[in-house]
């Protein structure tokens, strides 16, 4: 066994296990949990090894089937994709502890189907961060989307309708991306990202390339639920089975943002993106600022914990898109750091919600009265996640927001800075409202006794770990930026 295949084992573990889960899960449910957790644990360890290897020896490219690029499909393992690989596998591992419990409760008898889709989704996400081929990226994007459609449709009530809506929107996004790739292919005659970026400067002035960029960006924005295109996300993620929301909410939008960064800086050049038409990037930062403000306001109107969090996700997408388009190092550092932090905070909050839903059946605000006394551990972790979302110093959310705000000031985009601060305030209002309901409001008449009713240990352990990780990453964000993210930024930044 050579170590050059290390990152492929990360991807192969969940993919192979998916089919074993389907086969053996038909025979006995007992197989599902050990297989899923084992493969994801293996993937996480291997992904950390890959990150270590890349940081020590530098990035390398990998050809599937030994067909040399640009003819074969190339995978690129650089610090950025290795970092994303670690984020995906670790978060998937944490989420699946809790998902196993909640799927047992919500979808009895369908566990093997659920976890087959779940694991293929994880493998698809890992493939997305590794690939260096524009068309391959489209295929993997659709693999992740199709599995998500299936997972969401497994929910009850209106979930199939939400899933159908997502199919229509997601297909528009994917088709736009494919169109953009088609234009690039017409102009350059190749699909390999490195190859395209080598040929593009010769044809950069043409309208076709600008159209290609526009199509690709709009396609990815639909997939990441950037504000005016976000319509599908709140329904889809709040109506999905809790286990599916646990995985999709922290990862899908963040991976789409990673893809935007990848396409912007590894296919197109900074010069083309920012310098030739500076008004475009200004426009997008404005759009991001509006997105943040509008999504935060819509979050205020929600009366359900899950739905409120989904609108916060939409607002966070605005943070990161804006950060990337600020066109300076600080903004981009903040955006990449925020991908990691936001994935972790969303995970932490959704794990807490999963525990609450497991015990109470839903996350409506009215039901949360006195919850701090009933589920103290869950709510303690929830509070840490909430503080991180708001951006209170020792937690991770503060540091990435700090970078983003600094980047906004450097670039002179004050509207973005104001939107960020406004959104932090709104987040504070949102979460303190829940803390108020949960901590100070008296219990309803139905619950006379105030005794502890915690979720099972398997749901609490990942929740606590993610809350601790938020603080650890917050305290260690200096070294993280210095030793990983600085290396992960595109050349020239």
């Amino acid at each position: 066994m050579s170590t050059s295949n290390l990152h492929m084992y990360v991807l192969a573990a969940p993919l192979l296990t998916a089919f074993f889960v389907n086969l053996l899960g038909r025979i006995s449910r007992a197989w599902i949990a050990p297989l899923t957790l084992g493969s994801l644990g293996f993937a996480s360890l291997t992904a950390i090894c890959v990150l270590g290897k890349v940081l020590r020896h530098g990035s390398f490219s990998y050809t599937v089937g030994n067909w040399s690029p640009p003819y074969g499909i190339e995978l690129l393992v650089d610090p950025l994709s290795a970092l994303m690989l670690v984020v995906i596998s670790v978060i998937a591992l944490f989420a699946s502890f809790s998902a196993i419990q909640s799927v047992n409760q919500e979808l009895p008898g369908q566990e093997h189907l659920f976890f087959t889709l779940y694991l293929i989704l994880i493998a698809g996400l890992m493939g997305l961060v590794l690939t260096a081929d524009a068309f391959n990226l489209y295929v993997l994007l659709e693999i992740t989307s199709i599995t998500t459609y299936g997972l969401i449709a497994m929910g009850k009530g209106r979930a199939p309708l939400a899933s159908f809506n997502y199919i229509i929107m997601g297909s528009i996004g994917a088709c736009f991306y494919l169109l953009g790739v088609g234009y690039l292919y017409l102009m350059t005659g190749t699909l390999n990202m490195a190859d395209i970026s080598g040929i593009l400067p010769a044809v950069e002035g043409t309208a076709a390339v600008a159209t290609a960029l526009a199509f690709i960006l709009v396609g990815l924005w639909v997939k990441m639920a950037f504000f005016p295109l976000h319509g599908w996300l709140p329904n889809a993620y709040s109506l999905a089975p809790t286990g599916a929301g646990l995985l999709a909410a922290p990862l899908m939008t963040k991976v789409s943002i990673y893809l935007m960064v990848r396409v912007m800086f590894w296919v197109f050049s900074d010069d083309f993106l920012f310098l030739q038409h500076p008004q475009v990037s200004t426009l997008i930062v404005w759009a991001a600022a509006i997105a943040i403000v509008c999504a935060s306001c819509m979050a205020l109107a929600q009366r359900d914990l899950k739905r409120m969090l989904t609108y916060i996700i939409v607002a966070e997408v605005g943070y990161m898109v804006g950060g990337v388009w600020l066109a300076n190092t600080t903004g981009l550092t903040g955006a990449v750091l925020h991908i990691v932090n936001d994935a972790l905070m969303t995970l932490c909050l959704f794990l807490a919600v999963a525990a609450i839903v497991y015990k109470l059946g839903s996350g409506e605000f009215d039901k949360l009265q006195g919850i701090y006394r009933k589920m103290p551990v869950t709510m303690a972790a929830f509070t840490v996640g909430a503080f991180s979302m708001i951006g209170i110093p020792p937690t991770a959310g503060f540091f990435s927001k700090w970078y983003l705000i600094q980047g906004g000031i450097e670039a002179g985009h004050w509207q973005y800075v104001i939107a960020l601060l406004f959104s932090s305030l709104v987040n504070a209002v949102l979460f303190f409202r829940i803390i108020e309901i949960g901590y100070f409001f008296k219990d309803g008449e139905h619950h006379g006794h105030e005794k502890c009713e915690e979720a099972p240990l398997l749901m609490q352990a990942p929740l606590l770990l993610s809350a601790v990780a938020l603080i650890v990453i917050g305290l260690g964000s200096g070294p993280l930026v210095e030793s990983v993210i600085k290396l992960a930024l595109p050349a020239g930044f």
Binding site: F135, V139, Y149, I168, I172
Partner: protein, 129 residues
Amino acid sequence: MEQLLALIIAKYNYWLYVILMMIGFYAMIGKRNLVKKLIGMNIFQTAIILLFVSAGVKHGAKIPILDKYAVLKDGVDVASVVNPLPHVLMLTAIVVSVSVTGVALAIMLRIYREYGTLEEDEILEKLGK
């Protein structure tokens, strides 16, 4: 006018693709029936397939299936065969679109069983009650 006409005729494949794409896009956004939306999605994808496949066309070229020994001896005259790559890509895109259609149909089945209709307005009416 004549210039415009010449432009349309010279690039008629692109015009066709744009028209098809707009039909599909309109159906996806504007129609209120879920089946029509799905058909619109398929038209949209067909339009993209047309764009890619028409990019591989060469005048007077043959299909890219060659005799192994002849190629080893003489090499390939690139002008005599169409570009196979767009076709291969579109084969994959067709597979993707088939799977999306399959998932969408299955989900539609569930919607129909739940609400007894596939008209969006009627479903929303039932939800409102």
